[in-house]
Symmetry: C2
Subunit: 555 residues, 2 copies
């Protein structure tokens, strides 16, 4: 197995070696010497020179000896040739997370070298990592098995290189704090380089995984990795335990969303993102060159999912990208994010929809709390936060009207005149008021003014200045917007015109309602916002694998 390449070990970049003694000597050099001092020094210099010459001679001799010394371990280490699927043995590759249960066994496994520490020239400790799991590896010079050359080569493997390791799992007396599997270590008998490092790591995984608070408190000791640096080097950043956990949680939210809706009779649909016309409003839509004409990127699946209702699908949901050409450079805006959308027919009242959306969100919260504790705990280490709170039991989710929300803010000292709409700042303030008063991080505001909602929103039956629409909030930030929609083509056209939209510009959409459509409503949540707010990550970019904002299109 690849012994021909053993003579060509990889050359990982390392700082030149320097013993602690050398460092001290340089640090202690005197500053203003006298004449006798200079004489004394010249003598010492001479002495040193001779000593150095002697040492050099000895080193040369040792090197000659070493060269002459046969490396008996060449079959046990080295760089593997590029894997082009040359062979297939089918031998099991082990998972670190199973090692506690496998003490005494010889295992073969692929892992990253998280870091390494040589002790003298006969021993090297490796921290070996697979995603969020890690184990200590130990390589010691052993007659006929592990040579000094093998230890030296292993000590030179760069952090983040990928190795294939064979070793025996051994119980340890003292728990190994630096590894997630702390009750065993691996005594390495073979180690091979699968993939090396070409260049310098932009930051270490340990630095990237450190709590923000800790990094702030101790600037001198640790390197703080800024969000911008992380995002520029996202592939490395994503390797942290925190990020591995965050994206497991992102996947889990999608699963809980689907599970709940499938149980409640919803069908998954996929609607086109390329649209013939600028949807909803023309202001914030991306234009695409489409053969000899133009297309536009969907700002939501709104039109398509309503058309699916007119097409009798009754209850539909979609998980798909949503595009917003808004030049908003805030902690919570992305130009592309994942929309979790649903639309359903109404039998009597739009609160049927609101309650379904509420049930869906609560089932996501429960799923996260009950099934993802480990991942949440991992994230909490880097992003400490209060547990996310919502009301359960017979009283259910806290709901109030837009008017009541305004009253709460006025009571708290906000001027009523600025509250025609509730801006981001007041939204947050409302979140704090609600948390203090009701001890919940999650609530619904119903009955928004018609003036604040899009043309397809159904007006309130009694007060035409109000609408059958709602927003849902987590920790004082909006995460879901929805409403009953207008299913009557005449009223729809009237509302379009009143909002400056020409019904002819959206003919296929309006036509869908001319051929009979049941009353319906729906809503959409932003996946990244739910994830950010549940975990309190403070920036939506941390909840997006490769985030897109007005200034970022890469990586």
């Amino acid at each position: 197995m690849a012994d021909s390449s053993t003579s060509n070990p990889p050359a990982p970049e390392k700082v030149p070696e320097q013993t602690p003694e050398q460092a001290t000597e340089q640090g202690d050099a005197p500053k203003g010497p006298s004449k006798s001092e200079l004489k004394k020094r010249a003598k010492e210099e001479e002495k040193k020179k001779k000593a150095a010459e002697k040492a050099a001679k000895q080193a040369e001799l040792a090197q000659q000896q070493a060269a002459a010394e046969v490396d008996f371990a060449t079959e046990n280490y080295g760089k593997l040739p590029l894997n082009q699927s040359q062979t297939r043995t089918g031998r099991e590759r082990a998972q670190i997370r199973s090692f506690s249960e496998r003490a005494g066994e010889i295992v073969l496994f692929r892992a990253r070298v998280h870091n390494s520490r040589a002790q003298g020239n006969k021993m090297v400790f490796l921290n070996l990592r697979q995603r969020t799991d890690s184990v200590q590896g130990l390589l010691i010079v052993t007659p006929e098995k592990v040579s000094k050359q093998m230890v030296k080569w292993t000590a030179g493997i760069a952090s983040e290189a990928i190795v294939l390791v064979q070793g025996t799992i051994e119980k340890v007396q003292e728990p190994i704090k630096s590894a997630s599997v702390s009750d065993v270590e691996v005594h390495i008998s073979q180690i091979w380089l699968v993939s090396g490092i070409d260049g310098r790591l932009p930051f270490s995984i340990d630095d990237a995984n450190r709590p923000e608070t800790e990094a702030e408190a101790s600037d001198a000791q640790f390197n703080r990795v800024l969000l911008e640096t992380r995002l520029n080097n996202r592939v490395i950043d994503l390797r942290t335990q925190t990020n591995q956990a965050i994206f497991k949680l992102q996947g889990a939210i999608g699963d809980f969303f689907r599970d709940y809706l499938k149980e409640h009779g919803f069908l998954e649909i996929h609607s086109p993102k390329l649209q013939g016309a600028a949807t909803e409003s023309g202001a914030s839509v991306f234009k695409v060159s489409y053969f000899k004409g133009n297309a536009f990127l969907a700002q939501s699946p709104q039109l398509a999912k309503q058309m699916a209702i007119a097409a009798d699908f009754e209850r539909v949901y979609e998980i798909g990208p949503v595009f917003r050409a808004e030049d908003s450079n805030t902690h919570r805006h992305l130009t592309e994010f994942m929309g979790l959308d649903l639309e359903m027919t109404i039998e009597e009242h739009y609160h049927e929809v609101m309650e379904t959306l509420d049930g869906m969100l609560v089932s996501i919260f429960r799923g996260l709390r009950d099934q993802c504790k480990n991942e949440i705990d991992v994230v909490r280490k880097q992003f400490p936060a209060d547990e996310f709170k919502w009301r359960e039991g017979p009283e259910g989710t806290l709901k109030f009207t837009f008017k009541e929300a305004v009253d709460l803010l006025v009571e708290d000292g906000v001027n009523r005149e600025v509250l025609d709409d509730i801006n981001t700042e007041n939204e947050r303030r409302l979140g704090e008021i609600v948390k203090a008063k009701y001890d919940t991080d999650y609530y619904i505001i119903d009955k928004f003014p018609m003036a604040l909602r899009p043309f397809y929103t159904m007006p309130d039956p009694e007060d035409p200045t109000l609408s059958n629409s709602y927003d849902f909030f987590m920790r004082g930030e909006e995460i879901l917007s929805g409403a009953q929609r207008i299913h009557d083509p005449a009223l729809l056209c009237e509302k379009m015109r009143s909002k400056g939209v020409d019904p002819d510009s959206m003919k296929p959409y309006v036509d869908a309602f001319r051929m009979g459509c049941a009353p319906h409503g729906g809503g959409g949540i932003g996946l990244e916002r739910v994830l950010m707010l549940f975990l309190k990550l403070n920036n939506v970019r941390r909840a997006s694998l490769f985030p897109r904002d007005p200034k970022r299109l890469e990586p």
Copy 2:
């Protein structure tokens, strides 16, 4: 409940009423009359005029009588006011599919009027539809309950209008062939219009649901609905039983895909569709105006999912839109389709990936066969097709190399010179050869020439003209393409340059491999193609909710 609007029944568009007798009379009019004939006719005309006058007088009298006659049923029918969520009773709305088990019960349910048939002026039959379920409704004049006026109004409800019906479920002696629930009918006591029709239906749902063969065979009898007409009026077209079933099956494929991958340790990811650079190849990518610059729509999640591997996610999948700016107007090309993609690390050999993809596809086929029989049967009625066949048991899926595929075609008479690549026509021919020889509609071709594959494809370890790549086929058409990828940055750059791609133009992608990356591979299937080929729908547009092609951006 809405009695005030009873006096304003909706005015559905109907052809002017005409008795069968009148129609016959007009049809029998002579063509070349003589003089005596003309005289005779004048007399008859006079006679008729008098008769008409008499009839008009009688009609007027009857109308006066009717007006005088009190409509005792005004509380039981009429047009409902627009549902703006005025009230909420919480009364159960029933599902037609449950009616067989509920004989004797009074139910309230919303349904479309699929069609109606009046018998005299005292009785009307309605075919009432909910998605793929239908039931017969019967309204008969009944003292104090159902008036003549109510029957007349009901008979005037247009097809595809949505009604709210209350009635008693009654067993019937003879099965009702026109309804999916055939052992009961509903004796209607109340009927309300929820949503009417504004205009003319472009085609009837019955015509749209007819088998193509039947429509072809009997041009005179039935209206054939062309695909173009269907797609222009997709909302109506989607209401057919066939389409309701097709999109249930589309949803099921997504579920089977996810279930298999979750069971095998894959994590769902969402990668951005907006890219900073034209990916893979510049030729067929859509350009987007992005603030003051440009972006490009991802032609696949290829780069992002490989970067997710370099970021240690080990096994990832994604379901998302894929954009291709190819001006291909064929039965199997869309400019936007749903990609079901996966990527995974390799321990030893890329066949690990190929086998995972194979296992995933077979689990989709099994899921469809075992769990979706009803839907498949519904589609088969309109699109007759042989059962889709694949090999199971110890022999497993049929696999051969590109070279062996070429040999099969040459044996069959194709000139070897044209087989550097296998074009669509020869792909189909190969499908027929394989079906005849091995009795399977599903197989894998491995080891494609390097020249036919993208720059990121890993070359074969022994023959550099070949590659570690494969295509999967259903009924002679490609549905999946995949390969081992190059994880070594030096070789990757070399291959990029050899295919005319500047590595600097894709720096974040290339950089991902400089910091260590495990060997890996993957593949992607087109959701619509799998659905089209499993069901033999013959056009991929039938498998897309709102298809997009070079000439279609609406609806």
